[in-house]
Assembly symmetry: C2
Homo-oligomer: 150 residues x 2
């Protein structure tokens, strides 16, 4: 499950990427346009800033801009920051591996076997989709974006 935190964070980043320039966007504008509770968004952006995905300027004329090129920000990165590991179960996570206490032989575990495939499938999509890809798909959305991935 994608939390609202992650959903809001993704929406905000997409919005920032769409406006493009180095003119910062205020939290309140972002919140209004994307229908996100302002104070909550504040927290989310702060966390994204901590990971360098966005940068901010204070005072009049301040706000947020992207912290690095939009094509270097992947959906996977954002989701991992805001929601933690992509893996449905810790014993198949690349970034937060932890073994199940109740598993005598990990290699023989059927649940793990299947969930590993699921994790790989999710990661394959999210780590290979940058926010630029999403925006591009959006602008050409009427004619079924084919061959989306590199």
């Amino acid at each position: 499950m994608l939390s609202r935190r992650a959903k809001y964070g993704l929406k905000a980043l997409l919005a920032l990427a769409r406006t493009g320039g180095d003119e910062p966007t205020r939290i309140s504008d972002l919140a209004r346009d994307e229908h996100i509770p302002k104070k909550f968004l504040e927290l989310i952006l702060l966390e994204l800033k901590g990971h360098g995905l966005v940068a901010s300027r204070k005072g009049v004329g301040g706000g947020y801009i992207l912290g690095k090129p939009a094509d270097l920000i992947t959906m996977g990165e954002v989701v991992r920051i805001l929601d933690g590991p992509l893996a449905p179960i810790a014993c198949v996570s690349q970034t937060a591996y932890e073994r199940c206490p109740d598993c005598p032989d990990e290699q023989a575990c059927g649940v793990r076997f299947v969930m590993k495939q699921v994790r790989d499938g999710i990661a394959d999509i999210l780590d290979n989709t940058a926010i630029t890809d999403v925006i591009a798909a959006g602008t050409t959305k009427k004619r079924r974006a084919a061959g989306r991935r590199s």
Copy 2:
């Protein structure tokens, strides 16, 4: 995230499928062998029974057996029963669709666009993997089970 409920449920079903026959297995045996809290497993099996995935017999010599052929029980079905929809976000769910209140145009939503792919990826794996497939993969696990899916 896969809850423990779902994990335990899957493990129990796999165990029941492995023993195969029509000799029922007791909850307490299942719990001991699979390292699952007994009372918790009881609840889980009860729910699976409600959906016909397992059947039970009471009294001496009683216990649980599969409620239908193992090759007709998919991982997706089990996860949906115990954990709800596979979709990471409700607006892309097939079984529990719900529109986001904060989305003016669903077709244009970038988050939805990507999460739809994720949902489809997850469903493709889980709905096409029956518990027999998992067991088969386990017995041949040393030589890299290739071409797993139909």
